[in-house]
């Protein structure tokens, strides 16, 4: 697994394929899983549902300790025919009204002397989503999730009734991936809501929502979403294998899961896309990618991704071609400015003054007349202050955050220039670079670009353009070697793949007929067969 990968892998690039965890050299399909967790498998026998309601109650009390844990409600009652029964549910997680109206009331009015699970489900209980369960472990897990468990005297299985009714946040607009044109919905912390949002966007019969164990001891619910028969099965198997390899004490959400299954943990660049936009998730699913929805996380994970897919914004396709193209070009230019401009300016100013025109030279010299620190230090300090303002703006509530931006950006900048702590030209360079950084649509990529910028500045300070060459070439070499679930990070440019879609320019929507070549979807297989 990636997190267990031997460090020697770097020094063994010519070794056999078996050394690498590849899509092509997989060791068969991963083990089939049927639910959110696999912990019940180990103790299935010990946790079988007892036929007696008393025994069931005892087991429940042992499991949940209701005397000190009042959240668990155990309600014993007799059916209209006099049979002993028991329901158990979590207070707050389940909907009381639903239980009273559609479970307790019909059961108490049922005159059947010897009711069994089958007859109750067929003719008495008025709940649509039900399930019969023979494992006490699994029943207990479902109860923790808001499901109501019904135990009938003499029955060897319990009935699990869908009564989830906990409070949840309503669907709101996306906060991080905002667009002017396009849907305003975003994912919430509710697993079911998120799946529904995806299903509303992908109306295909082949859409599968497959529950998988998360590997965390907190049994976080998690599901793989993909298009069966269309998505590359080897990619799917690889994702499942990586999920199976996870063993952590706590799986709080998608951010942690991303780190546990990505290819290269130390890389500053994300290899999995986290999105809060259902339309983006749906678009990627239609492209043959795999999506992971995690309970409690308003972001879903999409894989595999490339640098270019991280640089795309959902808005690109909502706008007409010329506008979408213009915006994309500005975004790429912004990213380039963000990473390279401060370092480039510093390199020219400290080492290659002949490249700058005399006008610029005299302007910069005049602006730095009384500034005490060296230009390199000045640049780094301003970049750090910019990061400070940004972090502060993010962590405080909306209106205060905006105020911090204004105070930090305008007032502090002006004051710093007036106090000769910074020169106006360097301030402009840093501000332009900061603005460029905000053009990058992915938050993780924004942060990595910001730190890459710092590395470029330091290298430019140390070695001018040569230093910049050393750092950018090293970084690009890293990007070229990086993979996201077997797909090279710089695809479809390097390696060049068959593609109808334009890479940076936004081509015609008609070009979007086929999925990207590197996704190796069923379409590709058909094309190969035809060839």
């Amino acid at each position: 697994m990636p997190q267990k990968r031997n460090n020697r892998s770097l020094f063994a690039f010519d070794e056999g394929d078996e050394r690498f965890e590849l899509l092509e050299t997989e060791r068969g399909a991963p083990e089939k899983q049927t639910g959110w967790n696999d912990s019940h498998k180990k103790s299935r026998k010990a946790g079988a549902i007892p036929r007696s309601v008393n025994a069931a109650e005892k087991l429940l009390r042992e499991t949940f300790s209701p005397e000190i844990n009042p959240d668990l409600i155990i309600r014993r009652f007799r059916t209209g025919g006099g049979t002993e029964a028991l329901i158990a549910y979590m207070n707050g997680m389940a909907d009381d009204a639903k239980i009273n109206e559609f479970i307790l009331k019909p059961l108490m009015l049922c005159n059947d002397k010897k009711p069994d699970a089958e007859s109750l489900l067929m003719g008495v209980i008025e709940i649509s989503e039900t399930k019969r369960e023979t494992s006490m472990e699994k029943a207990a897990l479902d109860v923790m999730d808001g499901v109501t468990a019904l135990f009938i005297e003499g029955e060897k299985e319990c009935i699990l009734l869908e009564t989830r009714g906990f409070e949840k946040r309503s669907i709101g607009p996306a906060e991080n991936e905002t667009t002017v044109i396009g849907p305003k919905e975003s994912f919430t912390e509710s697993f079911r809501t998120n799946v529904t949002l995806i299903r509303r966007g992908v109306h295909t019969k082949d859409l599968i929502v497959e529950p998988r164990p998360s590997g965390g001891r907190n049994n976080t619910r998690l599901a793989l979403v993909y298009r069966k028969g269309f998505t590359n099965p080897e990619l799917l198997d690889e994702v499942k294998r990586r999920l199976d390899g996870i063993a952590v004490s706590d799986m709080p959400g998608s951010g942690v899961l991303e780190q546990l299954i990505e290819d290269c943990g130390w890389s500053p660049v994300p290899q999995i896309l986290q999105t809060e936009r259902p339309d983006r998730a749906c678009s990627h699913l239609m492209q043959g990618r795999v999506c992971i929805v995690v309970e409690g996380s308003p972001f879903v994970l999409l894989m595999p991704v490339t640098l270019f897919s991280l640089m795309n914004s959902p808005e690109d396709v909502y706008l007409r071609k010329p506008l979408g193209t213009a915006i994309r070009l500005i975004r790429y230019a912004g990213a380039l400015i963000s990473v390279m401009l401060p370092g480039y300016f510093l390199a020219l100013a400290l080492y290659h003054q002949g490249v700058m025109s005399t006008e610029v030279l005299s302007t910069v010299i005049a602006s730095r007349k009384m500034v005490f620190e060296p230009m390199g230090a000045e640049m780094i300090i301003l970049l750090m202050i910019f990061q400070l303002i940004r972090e502060a703006g993010l962590r405080v509530p909306g209106s205060i955050g905006q105020a911090i931006g204004i105070i930090g950006g305008l007032i502090m900048g002006q004051a710093a220039v007036a106090a000769h702590l910074a020169s106006s030209v360097v301030l402009i360079v840093v501000a332009a670079s900061g603005l460029g950084n905000f053009c990058i649509p992915d938050y993780s990529l924004q942060i990595s670009a910001a730190y890459m910028r710092l590395a470029v500045v330091i290298s430019a300070w140390m070695g001018g353009l040569l230093g910049m060459v050393a750092v950018t070439l090293t970084a690009l070499c890293h990007l070229a070697s990086l993979k996201s679930f077997g797909v090279p990070f710089l695809a479809p440019f390097a390696p060049k793949t068959y593609r109808k879609r334009t890479l940076v320019l936004r081509g015609n929507i008609g070009m979007h007929e086929r999925a990207d070549d590197y996704a190796n979807t069923a379409d590709d297989a058909e094309i190969w067969e035809e060839a």
């Binding site: 770097l10 020094f11 063994a12 690039f13 010519d14 070794e15 394929d17 690498f20 590849l22 899509l23 092509e24 050299t25 080492y351 290659h352 002949g354 490249v355 700058m356 025109s357 070695g463 001018g464 353009l465 040569l466 230093g467 910049m468 060459v469 050393a470 070439l473 090293t474 690009l476 070499c477 890293h478 070229a480 070697s481 077997g486 797909v487 090279p488 710089l490 695809a491 440019f493 390097a494 390696p495 060049k496 793949t497 068959y498 070549d517 590197y518 190796n520 590709d524």
Partner: protein
């Protein structure tokens, strides 16, 4: 799309090989030798490339005939273990030469024209770690990196050439083939030393290129592309500086815009361009080091190529320092000798392996 680990596609392969060929053809030349008696490099370089391609195609044919999967196998199949290894030594030396020669030229330019008073060692300390890093990262990353930089390097060259175009003068080309036919032919043959090793690198990495059929395709395309680029580059240089100036000029391509007063920022980008081309030089050096290391590892049945890569990096680094610093006279003499007669040493193993392979009885390997 083929997602196999350690393998690159045709596009990346062409970019990598073409970059190595162009960097050697444009920056590796010894100006004193190349331009002393007239300038016809814009003809001789493409011709030499075509010759090198012909040798390469013969080698591939021989490899197909003997059933060898790469150069190491071909050498041992054709000459047996001991002789194969002995004949591979010039090939390894060729890789070192092709890695070191352009890097020395860049080091000289950086030291003399861009970084005032900065020692060779300090400059090299920025270049060598990156080269080693790329070589260690392997063929896949290297190929992709070449694909990323191919366009940028080409754009830099086109921009430099177009901005210098108003100063082009045809009279500077005269006397056409000023060296006379005999020297022209000798010079063309001598340039093989710059082109055979980068092409052989493809055969060394045949597995990474998904087999001999792809090696053939890539060699052909890369050689044609490089012939055009080398020819056009040398033509541009020849249209700006006559041979009398060129023979004493350090890296003429750097001075393409030095003929007329350039006030505008865009026309003063020569330092930026040299840095862009330096990327190509580093990738070329990494490619040559990796190819040499892989060939060595395969010949001596080493599973891990990195120790050999480290050793070859050190050799290249030492050679560059010794040549640039002029600290060891024999290195300087050896370099002069190799630029003039090294082609024979580079071509001999390749040509002999091709001939033996073609004469030998056809073998089919499992």
């Amino acid at each position: 799309m083929n997602l196999k680990q350690g393998r690159i596609g045709v596009f990346e392969g062409v970019c990598l090989a073409a970059a190595a060929l162009c960097v050697n053809g444009v920056f590796g030349l010894d100006p004193e030798y190349a331009y002393s008696k007239g300038n016809s490099t814009y003809l001789s370089l493409p011709l030499a490339l075509m010759l090198a391609l012909e040798i390469m195609l013969l080698l591939i044919k021989a490899a197909e005939r003997t059933g060898s999967r790469d150069l190491a196998e071909l050498m041992t199949d054709c000459f047996g273990g001991v002789l194969g290894v002995i004949l591979t030594i010039p090939v390894l030396a060729g890789f070192v030469f092709c890695a070191a020669r352009p890097m020395t030229a860049f080091l000289e330019v950086l030291h003399r024209l861009i970084y005032d008073g900065v020692g060779y060692t300090s400059i090299l300390a920025y270049v060598i770690p990156v080269t080693v890093f790329i070589a260690w990262k392997g063929f896949e990353s290297m190929g992709r990196l070449a694909a990323v930089f191919a366009g940028i390097m080409l754009a830099a060259f086109v921009f430099a050439a177009v901005s210098a175009a108003p100063d082009f003068e045809v009279y500077r080309l005269y006397p056409l083939i000023g060296e006379g036919p005999g020297r022209f032919a000798a010079f063309t043959l001598s340039e093989l030393v710059f082109f055979i090793p980068p092409l052989l690198g493809l055969l060394v990495n045949a597995k990474g290129l998904s087999g001999l059929a792809f090696v053939k395709k890539i060699s052909f395309r890369a050689a044609i592309f490089a012939a055009v680029i080398c020819g056009v580059t040398q033509l541009c240089v020849a249209l700006i500086y006559p041979y009398g100036i060129l023979s004493g000029l350090l890296m003429p391509l750097y001075r393409l815009n030095f003929l007329n007063l350039a006030h505008s920022y865009a026309l003063r980008l020569d330092k930026i361009f040299i840095m862009i081309w330096l990327n190509g030089c580093i990738i070329t050096a990494a490619y040559c080091i990796y190819s040499a290391a892989l060939l060595y590892s395969k010949l001596f049945r080493q599973r891990d190529v990195t120790p050999a890569a480290a050793a070859f990096s050190l050799i290249v680094c030492g050679t560059v320092l010794a040549k640039a610093g002029k600290s060891f006279g024999f290195v300087y003499t050896a370099d002069r000798f190799l630029t003039r007669y090294g082609a024979a040493a580079a071509a001999f193993p390749a040509v002999s392996a091709a001939l033996v392979g073609l004469i030998k009885k056809r073998k089919v390997k499992a």
